[in-house]
């Protein structure tokens, strides 16, 4: 018998106020430790889906269950990496990374240690004493990831975190993210516009179509972890890339007549 799903979305729909449906009829069952990417044309509700999973907003109808409980109740186990770095400008980098730990009442010495470790992990060990304005956009994003990882979340929700980074940095952070996950496993939900990124990271890519957002295709990515940079050059990877790109194109074309 297969293990019960860790995260379960059942006929989830969301509309804001009296507006049109942003998400409609989303069904998905995600196993513990999976890495799921959402990809789709803009306006397909990818970010909304992530915020639903974080318990930041409630679905209009349908259910989201994590470990069999409503998403909002388990948000302690999840952490969010926002589209923007979202750092507190008056706190130094290390203090920003420590923030979630401080808010939950960890000892000062423990959280200092943890923050430094997380900063080392994202390659910003030297920047601990800087203020956010002294960092580049990419560096700020890394601080934001270090902050999310500091609480050792069971579920990590990432909303296009690497969208603003150059490709080399993005690739490296992709590899780093998988390396971290190898050591300290978490279930990940990842929103991106990059097919290559989605395929490289994920166990499963969910392609959404827009207006309203629906699941257009689900693509299993069976490559074993640990995945390394070498994976990107294999024919199997390139083939998966092609399949995903076609699915994304189909999902985008399907909604074109509406516009």
């Amino acid at each position: 018998m297969p293990p019960p799903p860790y995260v379960c979305l059942e006929r989830v729909a969301k509309r804001f106020g009296t507006g049109p449906e942003v998400l409609s009829d989303i069904d998905a069952e995600i196993g513990l430790g999976e890495f799921v990417s959402f990809i789709g044309p803009s306006g397909c509700g990818k970010s909304t889906l992530l915020r639903l999973l974080a318990g930041l907003i409630e679905p209009t109808s349908g259910d989201i269950a994590i470990e069999g409980r409503k998403a909002a109740y388990t948000s302690a186990k999840a952490f969010f990496v926002f589209q923007e770095p979202n750092l507190l400008p008056w706190r130094r980098v290390a203090a920003n990374v420590e923030l979630p730990l401080m808010l939950r009442g960890d000892e000062r010495a423990d959280r200092k240690l943890r923050a430094q470790k997380m900063l080392d992990l994202v390659g910003l060990g030297e920047a601990a004493d800087k203020f956010p304005w002294q960092l580049s956009g990419g560096m700020k994003m890394r601080v934001s990831i270090a902050r999310a990882l500091s609480v050792a979340p069971r579920i990590l929700l990432l909303d296009e975190p690497f969208g603003a980074l150059d490709e080399m940095t993005r690739d490296r952070l992709n590899e780093d993210l998988l390396a971290i996950r190898q050591r300290d496993p978490f279930t990940a939900f990842f929103v991106t516009h990059s097919v290559a990124e989605a395929v490289f990271l994920s166990t499963r890519v969910i392609v959404l179509s827009a207006n309203p957002g629906r699941v257009a295709a689900t693509i299993e990515v069976p490559f074993v972890y640990p995945r390394t940079a070498a994976l990107r050059e294999t024919p199997e990877f390139l083939e998966k890339l092609g399949v995903t790109s076609r699915a994304l194109r189909a999902a985008s074309v399907a909604e074109a007549p509406a516009s």
Binding site: A54, L56, S75, A76, A78, F79, F80, F82, E84, N86, L88, P89, W90, L99, P100, M102, L103, R104, F131, P132, W133
Partner: protein, 260 residues
Amino acid sequence: MKRASPWVMPLIGGVMLVALWYAVIGIFGFKSYVLPTPISILAAAVHERQALLAGALITGEGALLGFLAAVAGGFLLALIVALAAPLKQAFYPYILVFQMTPVIILAPVFVLWWGQGVPSIVAITFTICFFPIVANTTMGMISTDRNLRELFVLCRATRLQEIRFLRVPAAMPYFLIGMKIAGTLAPIGAITGDFLTGTTQNGLGGLGFMTIAYFSQLKIPELFATGMVACLLGFLFVGGVNLLHWFMLHRWHDSQRRNE
């Protein structure tokens, strides 16, 4: 082109203004009780230095105490308002009513309650300084970035943690703007207060009362000298607040940084 010292242009401007001043007196033949010359004002300031210093101290004391009370009270009220939206809805209109009531009308009431002199001056200064601090700080506390608030929700921060680690620091620039406005108003408020409630206790009032005295004696150069001292007092206040502003924000806030 080599950049001139920042003092050069203001100095040239000042010399030109003084020249214009003398020219006006020369052309129109104003008597010194209509428009005294700058030199006679300076002479009056030197001559009356003890009275002016004593007056400035009284006014300064009233301004400082009223200002500090307004800063503390205003911040506290903004904090309460940020903590509880219903309280804001319930009482904010009445703060406005209090603010809209002219000081001229409140002044006699204050004298009735606290008598003439410093306590009433403090009360009037407080009345004038209070509102800009409340309004600005409240604005700062309720306009925190939505994304940052979500971050705190995700961290399951308590309301008190959100206030302490997010709302208050985020409101600091607004609070300091409120303080800047209040800082420019405080000496004016104190002089107005003194003007309205001043006393001749010990033969001396504050700068506000001295203007009444000098005017009634037609000591116009002395009157101008009083204005000069009041002006200096104002600069002292604004300078102090600016210093505080810099101290609080220079490490992180955009307003305090040069573009690199």
